[in-house]
Amino acid sequence: MAKRPAYSKLCKALEAGHFVFTGELEPKKIMTMSEIIHSAKEMKKTSRIIAANVTDGPQGDAYMSSLIPSYVVQRDAEIEAVWQVAVRDRNRVALFGDVLAGAFMGLKNILVLTGDHTALGDNKKARPAYDIDSTQFCELLSKIIDNGTDYEGHEITGGKVEMNYGCVANPNAVGEYMEPEILKVGRKVEQGIDFIQTQTAFDIEVAKNFIKELSRYKVPILLGVFPMKSYGIAWYFDNYIPGVSVPKELLKALKSAEKENKGDKKAKYAALDKVNVEFFKPFIKEIKENSKASGIHCMAVEYERLFSPLLGEYPDYAKKFY
């Protein structure tokens, strides 16, 4: 298959060889988007974050669908969205319909996900869809974008869908579990993905090794990092996100940063930020300098004040694309 053009700003920046950053926004059980828009605007302001991922019911929870927030973020914060779509909740008919709707509203990036099982979410009795899996969704997207048809080959009329799509990979699959993870991504490469955003990694050697293995596919890789706004979030992540364990020292440092500055909000924030910057700044630098990763996916949801100390030293390349 001939390589698909870079339709999105994210893919254009990757194509131009920039070391890119993406951020993350999480619509929850909400009837307001002010926080999301605020967060997205802060990302835009950095000129380092080129696009913002908009999550789709993470952990299997029943949240506002990611389609409309993705559109609103693009409209109101003027930053490109990476629209996350999980195959958990929609069959191939609904996925196709949503993709056309999203494309019509000007969305340019899709991140394909299987989605955490509903059994993990807050509506555990639900029957998940999983009509097609994430690899098959990649094939569906290829048909929509490259062939202009649905899965069965029926034509889309009135215009072209111009989008890029990526998949996820888990760097925490180590030892004997790494090979199936790498091979699985290979199937998605075969189905035309434009980029890979990984699950968060905390171990630099594990991350570098994973990137090295993944780089065989010659698809841009954005390594996931997760600066943690509070000890509570770190604890939750450590305990409830599949395959992710937060290093003990980091957990301890976050805990004591909160404990030592109890009652003094400003000092507590400063201490927490210091822990995160001390851990992630050298981490990101090492990834940029000594791995084949093309960027960083920063999952610091609603943690805008960390952007400047963490990313400030990198070039403000994102300006060129807006």
């Binding site: 958990r88 191939r92 996900l113 299987t114 955490d116 099982h117 059994a119 993990l120 998940p128 999983y130 009509d131 097609i132 899996d133 994430s134 690899t135 098959q136 094939e139 569906l140 899965y151 996820v168 888990n170 925490n172 699959a173 004997e176 579990y177 090979e179 199936p180 993870e181 091979l183 699985k184 290979g186 199937r187 075969e190 189905q191 699950q199 599949p242 395959g243």
Partner: protein, 231 residues
């Protein structure tokens, strides 16, 4: 085997509380754990006690059927008891309950079981595990004999997903094996990772669409060939 679990005694009571004479029918077929004459008798005793606690009397008789899902066997076994009973309580899987409602259509048959899945005993342990979902499109030949439909919570054709940690599945709290890691290990052992890396397109769900019909006794003539010759 069809793995069944007995319904809660209160649920069974609610279904049959208005009857006075019931026939409790076990099944000697493929139900597991066994749902035969002994189980039917024990259920009868339990229900009799339950009725007594509500100040009612229940007359019951327990029998067993060789296979409740076979219409001829079911009809001939049940027929002698029909006149003396107002209803039947079946210990078979859903197939047996449907079949008794058909062959004894003058009375209602109620289910005493929930049919869970097609499976077997799990490595000799005191548990049953699902092996087949009768999906109508068997891909075991591509997956080293491990089923990713029955064995994977997300029914993935191209797994594993990100919910596997050290070979265990996120569903059920990382206690059960990830089918796709099992498939990977099996195929690697036989040096057939080519089958693992193979992309499998979206499944055709029509064979698994309910209600399903399959025409049997199709004539063994090659119709196309005949038409060809007639030309």
């Amino acid at each position: 085997m069809i793995i069944t679990q007995q319904k809660d005694i209160n649920e069974i009571y609610e279904m049959i509380k208005d009857y006075k004479k019931i026939l409790i029918a076990g099944c000697d077929g493929c139900c597991q754990p066994p749902r035969s004459i002994n189980e039917a008798t024990v259920l009868g005793q339990l229900l009799e006690l339950k009725f007594k606690t509500k100040g009612k009397n229940l007359t019951w008789r327990s029998i067993t059927v060789l296979r409740q899902c076979d219409d001829k066997i079911a009809a001939s076994t049940i027929r002698p008891f029909l006149d003396d009973h107002e209803t039947i309580l079946s210990l078979a899987c859903g197939l047996g309950v449907v079949m008794l409602n058909k062959v004894a259509d003058k009375i209602l048959t109620y289910p005493a079981q929930n049919s869970q899945f097609g499976g077997a005993q799990n490595n000799g342990e005191n548990s049953f595990i699902q092996y087949c979902e009768t999906c109508g499109n068997c891909m075991l030949g591509m997956t080293g004999g491990v089923c990713p439909i029955a064995g994977c919570a997300k029914h993935l054709s191209n797994g594993p997903c990100g919910g596997t940690v050290n070979g265990l599945c996120e569903v059920g709290g990382y206690k059960n094996p990830c089918a796709w890691i099992e498939i990977y290990k099996r195929l690697k052992r036989f040096n057939r990772l080519d089958m693992f890396t193979l992309y499998r397109p979206a499944r055709d769900y029509r064979p698994a669409t309910s209600p399903a019909y399959i025409v049997i006794n199709k004539p063994y003539t090659n119709e196309e060939k005949i038409t060809e010759e007639n030309k």
